[in-house]
Symmetry: C2
Subunit: 342 residues, 2 copies
């Protein structure tokens, strides 16, 4: 691995530097060739840097700014009026070649709007999509997109997301002819709204994409397909609802195993096994979604991410930078789009 | 309880009479005052009735028809051309006063269209909604609607669903001023699409509804609200995705507890507790969604329901008939709508 620089919006998310700075220190300890630029309010950031070992501190740079994007900023407002914000300056660093990737836990809509305007989309792509890799029954990675960057999508946008998802699965996981499906309320062709039906017809005409039809919500985690496409409204709610029920199950399981002396004793003995499972299923383990379809790397962390979860998102940004993901996607995308249009 | 008659589409769902008839026998054993009319192909139904005890068989009537609604029938097609189908005849029986409720595991769109046209909606309601009661952290019932009867909804429809959900929670669970929320991609007012934003503004103006704002997907199972409103596309996918991840968790848990002799032994000892939990969390336990906003009772079962799950749906129909749910909703709805419009 050659040296890599990551630009990090230190102020984003529910907790700001209290989470982003300690996670940065951890990431630097894990990756000796990594450098991180913390973008944000220097005094606030410094507070969490006092105990950093010199060899770690040496690989941190601070880009001072006091402006931030708030969670209630509309994307257009943020784009026009937050030009000195920590989020914006982090994206600018990628555009200026000073960093190979940027990362924020802030306002998704603003991140999407700024990234699109500053970094620009790849040829043939109109809108970037927020994508994440989910756990499935057989441990094969499943990509779900869009996760909330595009609240409404027309059929052409859904089609482009399907192509990008397919390329992602092909290039990152080396999946041959990834199975691509559209998320819908039924698997029959007559089901769903106009956008999803029209997107299905578009995908059927393209032999370069291994389109397998509609799937329903309960099949997301079945491992039967490699890429699942939907608009950002549906994707965001679906992903978060899954996290919600996973937490509920864990809560109920813990409660049910805490009643009665004998069961409690057994539960304690069995605890390490259950814990390792829970960690595996923990949504935090999967924190970090990528905005793909851009000419640069932008990773979005959950706003509520804790230190461990935020570290996951940093690791994702590092992996994508090492793989030079946008270039990989662009190359494959170009050949597919050339085929489609010829 | 006085005698009740239920009209059951015996042919609906993935398995038809093989599931619907044995579940019927179970329901009749549990409810001595219940009568069930099985609507469908008599020879196929009879096959599963041979072993029925005479005192159970006496409370079954068969309404013979060979026509069925298929899963690929479009709603309008089913409405026009399936007038002798098992689904249609079951609905007709409710309209004719021959049954107090009907139940089908068939095509949701067709069931919705037929019910709406034949039974009609309550005053002030334009479209019925499919609603179900979900498990939440504190075991309080949470109603989610719509679950797939209305793929696209404008803001006025979402508003009406919110009113109906509130009335349902008030009348069935005796919740005082039920907390009503709209499902969205963020809790801030600027988040979401036009429909959900406009529905939020409508609900804010109505003091009769305890509207608490937007909630995100991970809060569905938090128990913080009593009623959650969304369009049928989002509701259907969200509910099914939750079922999918619940199954994945159970699968992983079983797998993790089957490795190693000692753990296996402990797992066996602990099994009854875990089993009772899994049953509690099993989506089948919650099978059966109601089409509310109609002048009669229509219950929809999962197409893939097994005998136990289908029995749950029958029990739901029975409970609603005992409560005379449409009348209860109509009374409360009338007073709310009068207040709103005065």
């Amino acid at each position: 691995m050659t040296s890599l620089t990551l630009a990090l919006d230190a102020m984003g998310g529910d907790f700001g530097p209290r989470i982003t700075v300690p996670a940065t220190l951890q990431a630097l300890r894990l990756n000796p060739l990594l450098k991180i630029v913390l973008v944000g309010d220097k005094p606030q950031i410094d507070e969490y840097l006092t105990c950093a070992e010199p060899q770690i501190r040496n690989r941190i740079e601070i880009e001072h700014t006091t402006e931030i994007v708030t969670m209630s900023d509309r994307p257009v407002h943020a784009l026009r009026n937050r030009k000195q914000s920590s989020m914006r300056l982090a994206i600018d660093m990628v555009q200026d070649g000073k960093a190979q990737a940027c990362l924020s836990a802030g306002n998704t809509g603003a991140l999407m709007a700024m990234s699109k305007v500053i970094l620009k989309t790849l040829p043939g792509i109109d809108r970037p999509a927020l994508v994440s890799c989910l756990p499935a029954v057989n441990n094969t990675p499943v990509y779900l997109l869009d996760l909330g960057a595009n609240v409404s999508c027309d059929s052409e946008t859904l089609f482009q997301f399907a192509v990008m998802g397919s390329v992602l699965s092909e290039t990152v996981d080396k999946t041959e002819a990834p199975k691509v499906a559209l998320l819908n309320v039924g698997s029959e062709e007559i089901k769903g709204n106009d956008q999803v039906q029209q997107a299905g017809r578009l995908l059927q005409q393209v032999p370069q994409i291994n389109y397998t039809g509609f799937i329903e919500g309960d099949e997301i985690y079945s491992g039967n397909v490699d890429v699942i496409v939907c608009d950002g409204f549906v994707g965001n709610i679906t992903l978060k609802a899954s996290e919600g029920i996973a937490r509920l199950l864990v809560h109920q399981l813990k409660k049910s195993l805490s009643k009665g002396f004998f069961v409690q004793l057994l539960a304690k003995l069995i605890a390490p096994r259950v814990h390792s499972l829970l960690n595996q299923m923990n949504p935090d383990h999967y924190n970090g979604a990528s905005l793909i379809g851009l000419r640069g790397i932008v990773v979005k962390s959950h706003g509520s991410a804790d230190e461990t979860a935020f570290l996951q998102a940093i690791n994702l940004a590092v992996t994508e930078a090492q793989r030079r993901l946008p270039q990989m996607i662009e190359d494959r995308l170009e050949s597919i789009l050339l085929d489609i249009n010829s």
